[in-house]
Amino acid sequence: MAHFAKIGMVGKVIQVLTLNDSDMLNADNIQDESVGQQYLERHNNWPAQMWVQTSYNTKGGKYYNADGTEHSDQSKAFRGNYAAVGFEWDADNDMFLPKKPYSSWVKDITNASWKSPIGNSPDLTAGQQSQNDADTHKWVYDWNEDDQTWDLVDKTNIDPLA
């Protein structure tokens, strides 16, 4: 079973369809993306070049086994992420990216995702982590788009109106 993303006019994924392997075999009986694209154009009335194959097992630039563990052969990783509705198709980098979470974030091509302009959030201290483990606190870092900072927040007692 193969999966193809339907790309909209502004480069966003608008649908993901499955395709039988037999429907994308070329004359040499080898799976060929362009054959699948032609099949989808004929049956779904959308241009062949706007169907892009996507890998169900690829996420964050890595290829995973069915049990969720990382595959030993990462050359199988294909186009960054398994496409979903709303994902961005980045043709220049040949990958699908999730929706940009904040306007200031920039592409992280290595991990097929987005990162803040100041990098990842700081690690929790050992004390904060032990409090999380003991369920007395829920320390997390939330991105503050206004201040462009990572803010440490305790989500133990979340205000329902927050």
């Binding site: 339907k6 006019m9 608008i14 509705v85």
Partner: protein, 165 residues
């Protein structure tokens, strides 16, 4: 202070922007409507392209997942104004649609008025001109009428009703 929206009357309007070479064939739809002998419009590739576009893009842009209910076409004579239209059955809401889509196929001064209530300010209305290849989606609980405001040409309008998931 926080605002929680429990329900909304959303009117969604836009043009069907298809890739080059895959544009909606308005002539085909117009012919299908003029030749349909009953109220139901026959299935066609063109109709399917339009319907798929609407379903996929309302899901993508507004997270509204539509499911088809009914479909029909109407031809409005010059200067014709419909009586107020309502696509729900007030005594059978269970089998009534959630949303109504109007799509302009052949339009010339085709105007739409949709009625809505704004809390105690009942009976307000919103006017918009429907043009070729333009669609408007609104809740089927809203009454509306269509007016052909010129004396030369007929207007052809497609209606599709939907439920949402």
């Amino acid at each position: 202070m926080k605002k929680v929206v429990l329900s909304e009357q959303a009117f969604i309007a836009g043009y069907v922007k298809m890739p080059k070479g895959f544009e909606i064939d308005l002539d085909k739809l117009s012919i299908d409507i003029s030749q349909s002998t009953n109220s139901e419009l026959p299935f066609s590739r063109t109709w399917d392209m339009l319907n798929t576009y609407v379903i996929e893009h309302t899901n993508l842009e507004h997270q509204i997942r539509l499911v088809n209910k009914n479909c029909w076409g109407d031809i409005y004579k010059p200067n014709q104004q419909t009586s107020p239209l309502l696509n729900i059955d007030p005594v059978d809401l269970k089998n009534s649609p959630d949303y109504t889509l109007l799509y302009g196929i052949k339009t010339d001064n085709c105007f739409l008025r949709i009625y809505y209530d704004d809390n105690r300010r009942a009976g307000r209305s919103w006017d918009i001109q429907l043009t070729d290849n333009m669609f408007i989606i609104f809740p089927s609980t809203n009454m509306y009428y269509i007016k052909n405001e010129q004396k030369e040409n007929s207007n052809v309008v497609l209606t599709i009703t939907y439920d949402y998931l």
